[in-house]
């Protein structure tokens, strides 16, 4: 693919938010320079590009930084609107529904599964696992409403909400391996379970999503670094 000029992505290999942006850039068919960041020793470039939150992902386009993964995904869809696939639907209500659920995922799913990883007791872990399952039950409903019988949240191919949820799947798998929590029960969330497999099988996911084991290794490193009262498998 021809480059679109000066495009850099500051990221971290196992950040689901970075993966989300990489998926979006893949959908738009945009090539970019990926710069891996050490979040325990933040670079001058990262601190300069995201002085407010000091986090990844940061997209630097023509020297201008854009921060916050969902903001970046919307930016990519707008600035490269003629290229690649559309990430957002055209209809304002459908866009609103996609935005609602994407915000819900970041507000509820991410803290729940991170909480499973950080839990200091089995009780606390079980509590967080329960929270995660409630979220997934709601997403099962959302999938039924949004997909209208089609393979993805957005319909025939992946869109905004698929990216918003899908970037977390490798972490859910990592946590399943570490703690034995089953997130996708074909009995309880059949649509989501089928979607998750389908999503993981897309060319986009196969190209940009890291292996769940990479996340497991990272999680164990974090536990070693910060100490943990319960051990993973």
């Amino acid at each position: 693919m021809a480059g679109e000029g000066d495009i850099k992505l500051l990221g971290m290999v196992v950040s689901p938010f970075v993966v989300r942006v990489r998926m979006a850039l893949h959908r738009k068919g945009v090539s970019y320079e990926y710069v891996e960041q050490d979040l325990f020793n933040k670079s001058e470039l990262l601190l300069r590009s995201n002085p407010v939150n000091k986090k990844v992902p940061v997209l630097i386009h023509g020297g201008k930084p854009i921060c916050e993964s969902l903001v970046i995904v919307q930016y990519a869809d707008e600035v490269w609107s003629g290229k690649g696939a559309s990430i957002f639907p055209a209809d304002p209500h459908e866009r609103a529904v996609a935005r609602f659920w994407a915000a819900y995922v970041d507000d509820k799913l991410f803290p729940a599964y991170i909480g499973i990883m950080k839990a200091a007791t089995e009780e606390a872990r079980a509590e967080k696992a329960k929270e995660a399952l409630v979220v997934l039950a709601n997403l099962e409903e959302a999938f039924a409403q949004c997909s209208k019988g089609k393979p993805f949240f957005a319909g025939d191919s992946v869109g905004y909400l698929d990216l918003a949820v899908g970037c977390n799947l490798f972490w859910l798998e990592a946590i399943r391996k570490m703690f034995g929590v089953t997130f996708f029960d074909v009995g309880k969330t059949p649509l989501l379970a089928a979607w998750a497999e389908r999503f993981a099988g897309t060319e986009m996911a196969r190209e940009v999503v890291p292996d769940a084991d990479t996340a497991v290794v990272f999680a164990k490193k974090l536990q070693a670094r910060f100490g943990s009262n319960t051990s993973a498998k």
Binding site: V52, N53, I72, Q74, Y75, R95, R99, P111, N138
Partner: protein, 233 residues
């Protein structure tokens, strides 16, 4: 043909105020349905089954929930004064600041008001850091939206301009004293002076009695929001 617009709201909610300002800036006629949040109607529960909270925008048979999602919907579904600029980079900036207000600045201010001891010290420090960031931004522009009120202004000023004073009074805590943050004060005054804004600001004295009567609930709400805020800092 225009479909009827209704807004499910409740007295004292700055989030409902956001939606009202946006509708009025666009010149959209709407019916305000006032909820008793301690006795939620079937209408509200049906149209916001996930969160059971206000505001909910009803446009014909479509329901849109979450105030920031509603703001973007209003901008896209109705003609009139744009709430977002046309340039993708500037749109990304506006969305970034709206998110910063919602997830960081307003959150830390709210939590600092209703917590105590060491926790409050941490939150207070965060709130002051966040306000300092906003102060720096507002030294360079009249509104985040430029000449006119935009998405980020509605997100931030909706709370800071009218509610912050009331909440500090009810909580008995000062986060923004009279001689601090001159640029923020100027922005708040400019926001409050806008005739559209004045039309949908609740009476200050009523707001004080309202929050005084639900003080206990504010403390409880802050307690439940604290873990997520700290986990995603």
């Amino acid at each position: 043909m225009t479909e009827p617009v209704k807004l499910i709201g409740a007295f004292g909610s700055p989030f409902v105020h956001r939606a009202e300002v946006a509708l009025r800036l666009k010149g959209v006629a709407y019916e305000l349905i006032t909820e008793d949040l301690f006795n939620k109607s079937e209408l509200l529960l049906r149209h916001n089954p996930v969160h059971h909270r206000v505001p909910v925008l009803l446009h014909g048979d479509k329901a849109i929930c979450e105030s920031l999602v509603i703001l973007e919907y209003i901008d896209e579904a109705f003609d009139g004064q744009p709430l977002l600029p046309t340039d993708p980079g500037e749109r990304a900036e506006a969305r970034f600041w709206a998110k910063f207000f919602a997830e960081k600045c307003l959150m830390s201010v709210w939590l600092a008001l209703w917590t105590e001891g060491e926790t409050q010290k941490v939150l207070m420090k965060d709130a002051k850091e966040h306000l300092a960031i906003v102060e720096t931004q507002l030294k360079e522009k009249r509104f985040f939206g430029g000449v006119a009120i935009g998405l980020a202004d509605i997100a931030g000023a909706s709370v800071l301009s009218h509610w912050a004073g009331v909440l500090q009074e009810v909580a008995g805590i000062t986060i923004m004293s009279d001689d601090e943050y001159p640029a923020i004060r100027r922005w708040m005054e400019d926001y409050n002076a806008d005739e559209v804004v004045t039309e949908c600001l609740p009476d200050r004295d009523q707001l004080v009695s309202h929050f005084t009567s639900i003080r206990g609930k504010c403390v409880a709400a802050a307690k439940s929001m604290l873990p997520n805020y700290l986990a995603t800092k």
